[in-house]
Amino acid sequence: MSEPGVPPPEDVLLEVRGLRTEFRVLDGIVPAVDGVDFSLRRGETLGLVGESGSGKSVTSLSIMRLIERPGAIVGGEIWFEGRDLLKLSEGDMEDIRGNEITMIFQEPMTSLNPVFTVGEQIAESVRLHRHASKKDAWDRAIEMLKLVGIPSPERRVKQYPHEMSGGMRQRVVIAMALACDPKLIIADEPTTALDVTIQAQILELMKRIQAESGAAMLLITHDLAVVAETVQRIAVMYAGKIVESGAVEETLLHPQHPYTEGLLTSIPSRVARGQRLNVIKGTVPNPFRLPKGCKFEPRCPYSFEPCKDNDPPLESIGNDRKVRCWLHGLPEHALPVTVAAGTTPGGAS
């Protein structure tokens, strides 16, 4: 991570530094994103994983600067293409949204406007960012529908969202995100709302278009199986902070943070029939009363003295891996030993 205010090296497309986004509600302040750091190289895919309420979606909306009241970005830097997005004017940000950074949302049923045809909705951003004529933008919409594998695009382009199935609509949303050749695609739970068979198709499609377009992708999900299949690097979020990051295979095979380990051992398919499913005990902490020390401490099976009062820093442990855990600062309690005695982290599915 570079010095504050200094742009990251050329090969880094996006670098988020110490991002803090808060929601000021009646009962107090919720620090939904509490000092998040990560970076994404050109053409790279990063999976941002975590359970509901861990701050993944708020992170993605913060990058787009789409946080609405009562939420606000209160600190940090978001470097994209040598510019700090948090310092841009709203007008400059509008030029980036939907053009250089695009988003694929979770709910294909509601994220398309019901009163416009899908063609109009795809062509809209092409006309806006490319200053294309009506005709050219319309042709581009047809081309994009063809690219995302929608049959007879010339007919489909004139249809309204309600005339399409969920999977088709998600393809339209993807087509919309791709129409202006973005450098970064943020996909926020793109397959969560879909049937399992359709999920696989959409993931396959996203992998293909990501590879073909060369765009970097930030994939936000709570589904480790999706991450394992799709991304190169992974960052695990818990209570508004990144607790572990690294190459996907490394991280999933040898989790270094107790939370990541807990997530992996609680996947049902990894447990033999009749065996009790491992769960992470307790619940996500109340955002108004976060633990003083490590945010995972109350649920952590390896918790010990330093965890209660001191929040661990995100430390590099070599091999492009980072982990936020005191176990790595204190070798005698090293995690792999404890893991070997307890559960068995197997290979990624």
Binding site: M64, L66, E90, G91, M93, E94, D95, I96, R97, G98, N99, T102, M103, F105, E107, T110, S111, L112, N113, P114, V115, F116, T117, E124, S125, L128, H129, Y160, H162, V173, M176
Partner: protein
């Protein structure tokens, strides 16, 4: 679509018929009757009153059967001049005249005569129609525009000072009774400040001819400006009175429709596309908020009709509302029935318009 419209028109016929039945029966239940004007006159005998009523096909203190006969006479199924259900040619009275039916009643296009003035009901209504059309048209346009602007503004600037002001004003105006607001406006702006005329539709001293006459229309078309300004000044207070409640209620309605639409995922999608705030609000959010608004506005035109009666009475505005009010006082049954029939036809028509508009603004809705 054509099939849908035809079906709706056919469905509307029994509705309108029922409206006429209920209105006629309710009216007959009101104490008194058109003959009440003779009650204090010692020179008129009960026999003379009965003969006078006979001329209108009415009976004094009618029982239920006689009331039904009176209604059927108004409708045109019954021939009160002695034929019963048969016309003077001995055929069923409800048949069209050229097939040997009767000529009385609305089904034969005969709205009858006003009891108090003796003039044909239709020509009385036709005289008053332009004034009411001007009042209601102006009110309707201003109502829609102001309610929409206030509602959208309040929704977009939610919880800001302007939203609070609009909210408080709309609660105040929503709670005011129409007639009372009219009287207060007359007192403040008409009597005390003398800013706006408080009575009528034109200034009778400066106008070239009485409103509604041919001479007036000629003068209006020859030199529209002074006439239009005159009417406009006379409209300020009645229109304000008429729409205050509706604007207040509908600005809340627009606000909530707009807030709901602004919170939808597709609005976030539109913002994520990089569209400027104005485009997001008006093209994406407002277009969707329109769906409930359009229907509501077309349907609430009925509300204007009700309001027009009180407003025209308070402002002595020579429209159908005042005509109706006078008709009620005189128990002018045929005049009232004529106005009620025309009003219900109009309201049923606006319902149909609402349905058609709904299809036009929402592609998800199909009628077949």
């Amino acid at each position: 679509m054509t099939k849908f419209i035809i079906r709706r028109v056919i469905q509307a016929l029994p509705v309108i018929w029922l409206i006429t039945v209920v209105s006629f029966l309710l009216m007959q239940q009101a104490p008194g009757g058109p003959q009440a004007v003779f009650n204090q006159n010692p020179h008129i005998t009960p026999e003379q009153v009965d003969a006078w009523l006979q001329r209108w096909c009415l009976v004094r203190n009618a029982d239920i059967l006689q009331t039904i006969q009176e209604y059927l006479g108004w409708l045109g199924v019954y021939n009160c001049t002695g034929g019963g259900f048969l016309s003077s040619q001995g055929l069923p009275n409800f048949l069209p005249a050229f097939l040997g039916g009767g000529t009385n009643g609305v089904i034969h296009g005969d709205f009858g005569f006003s009891i108090s003035s003796g003039q044909p009901v239709l020509s009385l209504i036709a005289q008053r129609l332009p004034a009411t059309a001007i009042l209601m048209g102006t009110a309707w346009i201003l109502w829609v525009v102001i309610a929409t602007l206030a509602g959208v503004l309040a929704a977009v600037k939610r919880y800001s000072l302007i939203d609070q002001v609009i909210t408080i004003l709309s609660y105040v105006f929503y709670s005011l009774p129409t007639f009372w607001l009219g009287l207060i406006l007359i007192f403040i702006f008409g009597v005390e400040l003398r800013l706006f005329p408080a009575q009528g539709i034109i200034n009778v001293r400066t106008s070239p001819a009485p409103f509604g006459t041919d001479a007036y229309w000629h003068a209006l078309f020859a030199n529209p400006w002074p006439q239009l300004v005159d009417i406009g000044q006379h409209l300020v207070l009645p229109v304000t009175t008429l729409i205050a409640v509706s604007v207040a209620g509908d600005s809340r309605f627009v606000r909530s429709a707009m807030l709901e639409s602004l919170s939808q995922d597709y609005v976030r999608t539109a913002r994520a596309k990089g569209l400027p705030g104005r485009t997001v609000i008006f093209r994406h959010a407002f277009r969707n908020a329109l769906l409930p608004i359009v229907t509501n506005i077309a349907l609430e035109i009925a509300f204007l009709f009700g309001g027009a009666i009180a407003t025209e009475t308070v402002f002595s505005y020579p429209g159908m509302g005042l005509l109706f009010y006078d008709g009620v006082n005189e128990r002018d049954y045929f005049l009232l029935m004529g106005i009620l029939l025309i009003a219900s036809l109009f309201i049923v028509f606006m319902n149909l318009v609402a349905d058609v508009l709904y299809v036009m603004v929402d592609p998800r809705i199909k009628y077949d």
